[in-house]
């Protein structure tokens, strides 16, 4: 679990985060959503320590990250995996070497044991045949999967994903979402995802934080979004007419179901 309280961050005179507080739950996909410039990436970078917040506290499973020494942070970071927007794979290394790199750096296992683990995660992300290829030789979707494999190879407790669907077609996006969701549940990871992708919000949004101008505007899960009357959230999520229609249909279905359940309940009571 990652909890952050009253996070504030300014760049010059520009306030990017203005007192954001939230709890990211373990074993769930926690989403940070918001328009461009709302502070999603800055918040995520504050959480992993790439930026220092001006004020506020970040707590990883009861331990204050903001008060940790750099050495303690280095130890904690070995439990953090991160998937970057551009994948951030090392150009000079093959797919296999990219995934093996954290194992080489932080474990003293034998070569065969490391290779077993690399092959295990490669299989998990369906990239067994691409192990000898360089990042420049694989597609965007494959790069994301290699990025995920590298992020989870050390069995992290926390997984951060910055726009995992950007630049991907809808089908590949869904594959990536499904993979992140499965890994989160399988390894009981606290996963935090920055996204613009509405499919992701509706499919894997267990715990959603909606930011507007650096402030927490709304939080809930993907089911709550349908019934939310927050104007800004509705305008952001259901931006097109098509999506607005889809929302109306989902609400009608839900109301119908509720009405049907009510009738069934009354009928059962009458029977009694």
């Amino acid at each position: 679990m990652i909890e952050f309280k009253d996070i504030k961050k300014k760049f010059g005179d520009k306030v990017v985060l203005d007192g954001v507080s939230h709890v990211m739950e373990t074993g769930k996909t926690n989403l940070i959503i918001g328009t461009s410039g709302s502070g999603k990436t800055v918040l995520q970078k504050c959480l992993v320590g790439l930026f220092e917040p001006d004020e506020g506290e970040i707590i990883y499973d009861g331990k204050s990250f903001t008060e940790m020494t750099e050495d303690d942070r280095k130890v904690l970071r070995q439990q953090i995996g991160m998937l970057f927007q551009g994948s951030a794979l090392f150009d000079s290394m093959t797919v296999e070497e990219n995934i093996k790199f954290p194992l080489n750096m932080f474990t003293h296992d034998s070569h065969s044991k490391k290779m077993d683990r690399v092959n295990e995660v490669l299989e998990r992300v369906n990239l067994k045949d691409a192990n000898k290829k360089f990042p420049s030789e694989i597609s965007g979707g494959m790069k994301k999967r290699v990025g995920i494999a590298r992020a989870v190879v050390l069995n992290p407790k926390y997984l951060f994903c910055d726009e995992p669907n950007s630049g991907l077609d809808p089908v590949t996006s869904m594959v990536i979402d499904k993979l992140i969701r499965e890994l989160t549940v399988e390894y009981n990871i606290t996963t935090i995802i920055n996204t613009h992708d509405m499919n992701s919000v509706m499919e894997i949004g267990d715990n959603i934080l909606y930011l507007v101008d650096g402030k927490k505007e709304w939080s809930g899960n993907s089911k709550d979004i349908i019934f939310s009357d927050n104007k800004q959230l509705n305008e952001f999520i259901f931006a097109s007419e098509f999506l607005q229609d889809a929302k109306s249909m989902r609400m009608m279905e839900a109301k119908d179901k509720k009405a049907t359940d009510e009738i069934k309940k009354q009928a059962e009571e009458l029977k009694k």
Binding site: V48, L50, M82, F84, D91, P102, M105
Partner: protein, 245 residues
């Protein structure tokens, strides 16, 4: 940003890069890779520059020594001393500032822009120790070696040109080489080589590591790194000559 800010950040980078490696084997591998890139990768250009530098030096010295009272072997002495004292350490290091310096700046700049440095940092790796220290250490080991090779090739180029153009025979050149030789000159050249190696690896590392933006900024920082390295090499050259000679 003014000079003091740059100098402060540069000093902090040098301070932070001194740290305990997370895994010695991985760091050793990276160091050897850098030795190969800097040493073997620059050997070709250093050899070509050195041979022609020595050859031109011999021909131009002969052109200026018109007095029949000055023995021909003096040409060899002048070639030897100019190559050892100035051409090999300074000129070769200026060439290397272009070759090695731009490579270091653009490599680190590209890693910064594509978030590879952030990825290393999040893994818990000291990025300055892992990325900057092996480059500077490899430069400190390989560049003095390249300078020694350059001295040998420069003098050999002078001998070859002197003989080929009929200015002086090989025997006369060899005799001139051993006349009034000062071993201190070689030490002085090596002191310069170490100083310049540090300058031409650490300054581009600083500019590359602190790039912000995209491809345009990588190009700009790479150019700036080479220009600043060359100026610092020339300033250090003068300072060392004034102090040690």
């Amino acid at each position: 940003m003014n000079f003091i800010t740059h100098f402060g950040r540069y000093s902090l980078m040098l301070k932070d890069m001194i740290g305990r490696p997370e895994n010695g084997k991985v760091y050793w591998k990276e160091f050897m890779l850098q030795c190969k890139d800097i040493g073997i990768g620059s050997l070709g250009i250093v050899s070509i520059v050195s041979v022609f530098m020595g050859a031109v030096s011999a021909v131009q010295t002969a052109y200026q020594l018109v007095s029949p009272l000055i023995p021909k072997s003096t040409i060899a002495q002048i070639v030897r001393d100019t190559v050892i004292l100035e051409f090999s350490p300074t000129l070769v290091c200026i060439v290397l500032a272009g070759v090695v310096g731009s490579k270091i700046a653009s490599e680190l700049g590209n890693m910064r822009v594509s978030e590879q440095i952030d990825a290393l940092q999040i893994m818990g790796i000291n990025t300055k120790t892992y990325l900057v220290l092996p480059k500077i250490s490899a430069a400190l080991l390989m560049i003095p070696l390249l300078v020694i090779i350059s001295m040998v090739l420069g003098i050999w180029g002078g001998r070859l040109a002197g003989n080929a153009s009929g200015i002086l025979s090989n025997d006369t050149f060899d005799r001139g080489l051993s006349e009034s030789f000062k071993a201190f000159n070689v030490w002085f050249a090596l002191i310069k080589a170490y100083t310049f190696a540090f300058i031409l690896s650490s300054i581009p590392a600083y500019y590359g590591y602190h790039v912000h933006g995209g491809a345009l900024e990588i190009g700009r920082s790479s150019t700036k790194a080479v220009v600043v390295s060359c100026i610092m090499i020339l300033l250090a050259d003068y300072a060392l000559a004034a102090l040690l000679l």
